[in-house]
Amino acid sequence: MPPDEEETVAETRGTTDTPAESRPSTAVTDDPTAAVLSDTELITVAPDVLAQSLGEYFAAWGRRIRNGESGALPIVVGLIAIVIFFQVEQSTFLSSSNLVNLFVEAAAYILFGAAEIWVLLLSEIDLSVGYVAGVGAFVIAELIAPPVGLPWWLGILGGLVVCGFLGWVQGTLITRLGLPSFIVTLGGLLGFEGVMLEIANIDKSAVGGVMSISSNSPVYNLVNANMSATLGWIALVVVIAVFAAVTLVGTARRRARGLSTGPMSVTILRIVVTAIGGFVIVLICNFNRGNLTTLEGVPWVIPFILLIILGYSFYLSRTRAGRYIYAIGANPEAARRAGINVARIRTLGFVMCSVTAGLAGLAYASRQGSISTDIDGGNLVLFGVAAAVIGGTSLFGGKGKMLHALLGGIVIAAVFNGLALMGVNAAIQDMATAVVLIAAVTLDSLVRRRATAR
């Protein structure tokens, strides 16, 4: 509860400012009331809700950062620091071949992070995703390999259905029987490794617990094949054009209807930044990074990941179920009283988590060109949680975005990649990774503590 004087201030404002309320989206540009806003409002409200111009937007942004509501900023700054450090240590770090390698490496971490975000938003955790991914990858590999020989897309579908089922089982135990997700999914962590080993045991073609994936298969090509350079550019132009059209038209339409929107300049800025980002990525990927033969183009896994993150974000922000996930994560009792079927939505979260784990398993197996029972499901879970949390998703539910998995996954991949490039041994790699993880979370927590201490 904010102190009383703030409330009084809000009151006074209300009585003097009634006319402004009738045209809310255009009110208060150079209004003295800006100074009258309560601190809580200034800090917790996203900049584009209150700002009416680009200048105000940045001012609001700066204020939030100073007050600890830093959003994704620390992680972006951290990532830049990491990149500079590795580039200084090893000049090949920023070479196009290494960067593409890094993106591809990040794919699995991003997907494990996205999987965890489904459940972290609900204030739950899923420890089993690593071995769910293992089971999923084995099922896919089995389905597309000779004895069964399904088309690749049916194989992937089959694997994802199996993963979804595992998630449904765990989710049902957790939500209907009220068991803690930590314990149920810990059981999953152990049990699904067993399931995976059993699949490998039964199939005699999985020699030494390894199922290889045919290099002709699209499953293999997901990570190992590239779009042609031209296709990459065309795709970029199309994507940016569609994105720009949708956001510009959307903003204009909301303005016209008198709904609250951020300033148009911010929308344009967002489009420009996205376009530059996309341009740089396609440019990097389209450099010839081959030694003997030509090797260029955007690996298919990049649009694959972007599509998944985009689709998930859309689902979370534009559908009822997505909104209920946030509501339940923040206040399950309020959600229940609002008539939301809390158990169903929570189960859905676990299903989506496991399906995403299956996609992570797909990316993982594609990169290896095989799936082995050596997959370290225990570590992969932790990288998933780390990616989500480093990216800015809260462990306590209700706060987070799919974009966080993208950022967090890239940070983790950058650390691994950079350390490997420097040639440090595994012991040092583990320790350094730990330091980076802890540092990222500490920074975030310190900044936030400063915010709450005020």
Partner: protein, 273 residues
């Protein structure tokens, strides 16, 4: 829900007579027991459309039990609940809500991470081709808040976490109004609020009442009660000892009823007997 009738339309044939016919909600000899403990004993109470009834009583007098019974959380062990003259059996909060009874608990049941619009529509979001219809939600929410003269919020797209206590209460009330509630039960709405915020909430209660919405106000604060209530009902050890127009009480008698179950001096007629 076991009413044979469809939910009655808003503001139906209702006179303002305090008892019997015309009552929006009527409790007859409602009793609730927990083993040997009698939480409510033969409670008679009637609430008229647009009336503000204050339910007061000491701790443990049965105020919470009564709200829980009316809002459908607890089924009464004896007695009858009548809604617009017809007996109803409430088997859960949804039944009560379907009738038009909304309860705003002290903790408000808002999600801090969602914005005002999202909270107001939580669980009832309108859809357009399977997607959330944000435009309709925002327009409706803005209109409702305006009707209730809630003008202190800076943007209806700000998260509820950034609102003051009174503003949060306003959002909870607006949510009730939007669901076409005819009876809004408010549990200690001003308990955690400062002076200015309390005024704001009391104004809100008056606005509700002027729109024909009945309000049942549970409060410890007699200032608030005397400011907004038309009728005052006093619970004492699970019994409704008196229910009379607020004008027939003074602070002294109200306190005596709350603490002893009877008034020492001559005071309102024991109309609840």
């Amino acid at each position: 829900m076991s009413t044979s009738e469809p939910p009655p339309s808003h503001g139906s044939s209702a006179s303002s007579s305090p008892h019997g016919a015309g009552a929006l909600l009527e409790l007859r000899k409602v009793t609730k027991t927990f083993g040997p403990v009698r939480a409510l004993t033969d409670v008679d109470l009637s609430i008229t459309p647009g009336g503000v009834t204050a339910l007061i009583g000491d701790n443990g007098a049965g105020k919470s039990s009564l709200i829980k019974t009316v809002s459908g959380l607890w089924a009464p062990d004896g007695g009858e609940i009548l809604w617009e003259g017809k007996p109803v059996h409430l088997h859960g909060p949804r039944d009560a809500e379907a009738l038009g009874i909304t309860t705003i608990y002290q903790d408000l049941a808002l999600c801090d991470n969602l914005d005002i619009v999202q909270n107001m529509f939580l669980g009832h979001e309108p859809l357009r081709s399977h997607l959330l219809d944000e435009a309709t939600m925002e327009t409706t929410a803005r209109a409702t808040l305006k009707e209730l003269s809630v003008t202190t919020v800076r943007s209806i797209r700000q998260p509820v976490a950034s609102l003051s206590g009174g503003q949060r209460q306003s959002v909870a009330v607006a949510k009730a109004v939007m669901s076409q509630a005819q009876l809004v039960i408010m549990d200690e709405p001003t308990a955690a609020l400062g002076v200015a915020q309390t005024t704001m909430v009391l104004e809100l209660i008056k606005t509700l009442s002027s729109r024909g919405v009945a309000v049942m106000l549970i409060s410890h604060n007699l200032n608030d009660v005397f400011e907004v209530a038309d009728r005052i009902a006093v619970l004492y050890l699970g019994r409704l000892v008196v229910s009379a127009p607020a004008s027939e009480f003074d602070r002294q008698s109200a306190v005596e009823y709350m603490t002893t179950g009877a008034a020492g001096r001559q005071s309102p007629a024991q109309s609840a007997a």
